[in-house]
């Protein structure tokens, strides 16, 4: 995997607090997570060179874009950064093709293979049919895809995505998410993705940093970071889902069977999804919809029973979050239980438990075709 080392150290005074973000990452997709108003957008804009008052140091690989000590501040047009803002901001006086090629001059200057990139982008994001359309006639999802394509076609060394799916409604997000995944897999451009959606972040990011009041408070693997006590309450617990990458095994009227761990042959039945055998997907399971059982259950109406081991228990507010592991090649899951239940079950480290998962609570996500999505843990 081609990823350069990105090092960021920014100081920027803002209205209510100062942005003092400092982190380094060599991951391909790094997520920036945090509640609204925590400075995420300002951070991206500072990296892009759009905030003149930002001071500090920004470096990607060998290229230094900001170095206040040496009085170096490279102008935004020279930074080779693709920026996809939350609102897309397509140029209304041009059609889709012209928008996509807006950064063509820079791409050519950088020696990027523009024609090929253009062709791939049109295929991957399925916007080839939209090329001659006027921007005003596009739907929200189409606009976001074009905005993404435009950034990619400008020959960037770094992509900054500011809540790219936030302006879309839920069903649309599920549709556009796979496109982002495809871009990641295909182009291998390092990406900084701002989001406050736990699902997006788990599906796309290799690493996650959490910003709060302008400072980086946590950094690590997405799933782990998200269930940390100082983060979990901010992730809208009602909507937090465990995201499990899986592969489709079989599909019929009753539902779809997916394999969540090839190593152990663990399978889950989920609601019917239109996917072919062998296709990669994500399955989303809310922590509240997993039932813990100390013994192997019998005579249940559901067949989704997974053996697991307890990794740890956290107290979050007036509830408990139990981290369990089902296999080495699968992600950990977070299960929400009441304190009373936790006490009764014991839940010691390494304790064997069984997970009962109602298929109806599972949500399936297309993960985009193409390369191995990776079983990140």
């Amino acid at each position: 995997m081609n990823s350069e080392h990105l090092s960021v150290d920014i100081f920027l005074p803002l209205d209510h607090f100062d942005l003092r973000a400092s982190f380094t990452t060599a991951s391909q997709v790094t997520g920036v997570f945090g509640p609204s108003g925590s400075g995420k957008t300002s951070l991206l804009q500072s990296i892009a060179g759009l905030k003149r008052r930002a001071k500090g140091r920004v470096q990607l690989g060998e290229g230094v874009w900001l170095d206040s000590e040496k009085n170096l501040c490279v102008r935004p047009e020279l930074r080779q950064i693709g920026y996809v803002p939350q609102e897309g901001l397509l140029f209304p006086h041009q059609n889709v093709r012209q928008n996509l090629l807006a950064g063509a001059a820079r791409a050519r200057r950088a020696g990027a293979p523009l024609e090929e990139t253009f062709r791939i982008v049109c295929d991957l994001l399925e916007i080839g049919v939209l090329l001659e359309r006027e921007v005003g006639s596009l739907s929200g999802g189409e606009r976001q895809r074009v905005a993404l394509g435009r950034a990619i076609c400008s020959g960037p060394r770094l992509l900054l995505l500011d809540e790219p799916l936030a302006s879309l409604d839920l069903p649309l997000r599920r549709k556009v998410l796979p496109f982002l995944r495809r871009v990641v897999d295909q182009f291998q451009i390092p990406m900084l993705l701002v989001s406050h959606d736990a699902t997006e972040v788990q599906a796309l990011c290799d690493e996650l940093i959490v910003l709060s009041n302008g400072e980086v408070v946590t950094k690590g693997k997405p799933h782990n970071v998200l269930i940390a006590p100082n983060v979990f309450p901010d992730t809208f617990p009602d909507r937090f889902e465990n995201i499990l990458p899986c592969t489709v095994v079989d599909s019929n009227e009753q539902g779809t069977e997916v394999c969540v761990s090839p190593m152990k042959g663990l399978r889950l039945t989920i609601p019917r999804a239109s996917s072919a055998q062998g296709q990669k997907m994500w399955v989303g399971i809310p922590p509240r919809d997993i039932i813990l059982c100390a013994r192997e259950p019998e005579g249940l109406s559901v067949s989704n029973i997974l053996p697991a081991r307890v990794l740890g228990v956290q107290t979050i507010g007036d509830t408990r979050l139990v981290t369990v592991s089902i296999a080495e090649d699968a992600r950990n899951l977070a299960v929400e239980v009441t304190p009373a239940a936790a006490d009764e079950l014991g839940l010691a480290d390494r304790q064997r438990v069984f997970l009962i998962i109602n298929p109806a609570s599972c949500v399936s996500y297309e993960s985009g075709s193409g390369a191995d999505t990776g079983f990140r843990s």
């Binding site: 041009q94 059609n95 093709r97 012209q98 090629l101 024609e115 253009f118 001659e132």
Partner: protein, 279 residues
Amino acid sequence: MPQGGAGLVRWGLPRTALVLLAMWLAICAASCSTSRENRDELLIFAAASLKDVLADVGNRFDDRAGIQPRFNFAGSNVLALQLEAAGSTAVFLSADEHWMDYLEQKQLVVAGTRRSVGSNQLVIIANRDNPLELREPSGLAAAQFRFLSLANPEAVPAGRYAKGFLEKVSAGGQSVWMRLRDRVAPAPDARAALAMVEAQQDVIGIVYKTDAATSDKVRIVLEVPAHLTPEISYTAALIGNDRDSNSERSFLDFLGGTEALELFRKHGFITGEDRPGHE
């Protein structure tokens, strides 16, 4: 190679802009060069009210001398200021002595060329549907009207003459001007004053006889006797320097000749012999 839809315009927009900018600069530079084509022209600065009569005079002069004069028509005040600013050599025909005096003070009048070309008469007018009768000027003080419309008495000759006339006449121990001051409505020029009288029944005015003659919507209530007005005099002179001024001088001479005077009379101006009390 994918190109933009409106490729030519967008591709060339910065270039087109540069070309336009270059053209614009070139035009500015070119027009800054001094042009001498105006030198040989005969330019007459004349009061706007003389447009018709001077058109005839100009044509007749062309027949005689073979030179068609160009006219610059504006208010006498504007003309005087232009002559002062531009320093041109030209013939100036002012609607009164005042602006000629102004230029003389600035020493712009060529000595010995100043002469009177004609005169006009003031008349008191009213809307044709207004039955107002006046026996004599002092009757104005008692007349029924809402406004007295004049050309601006501060700047325009016709207005200044009208004010002078009203100051000379007295009624009840005061000059009529003092009695009527608060009902005076100054207009930008005599034409506007006339138009106001045409429009409103309760407005009367004082304008030149030549002005009143052009409109059938007003009637002359009283012709102001010459001895009551300040000397109304259309004055002409050569302005500037005396070199290369042959055509200007011949035009001035022509102005004083019988042909020109007849044309002036034909248009309703008072000339030479008809003016009481002047040489």
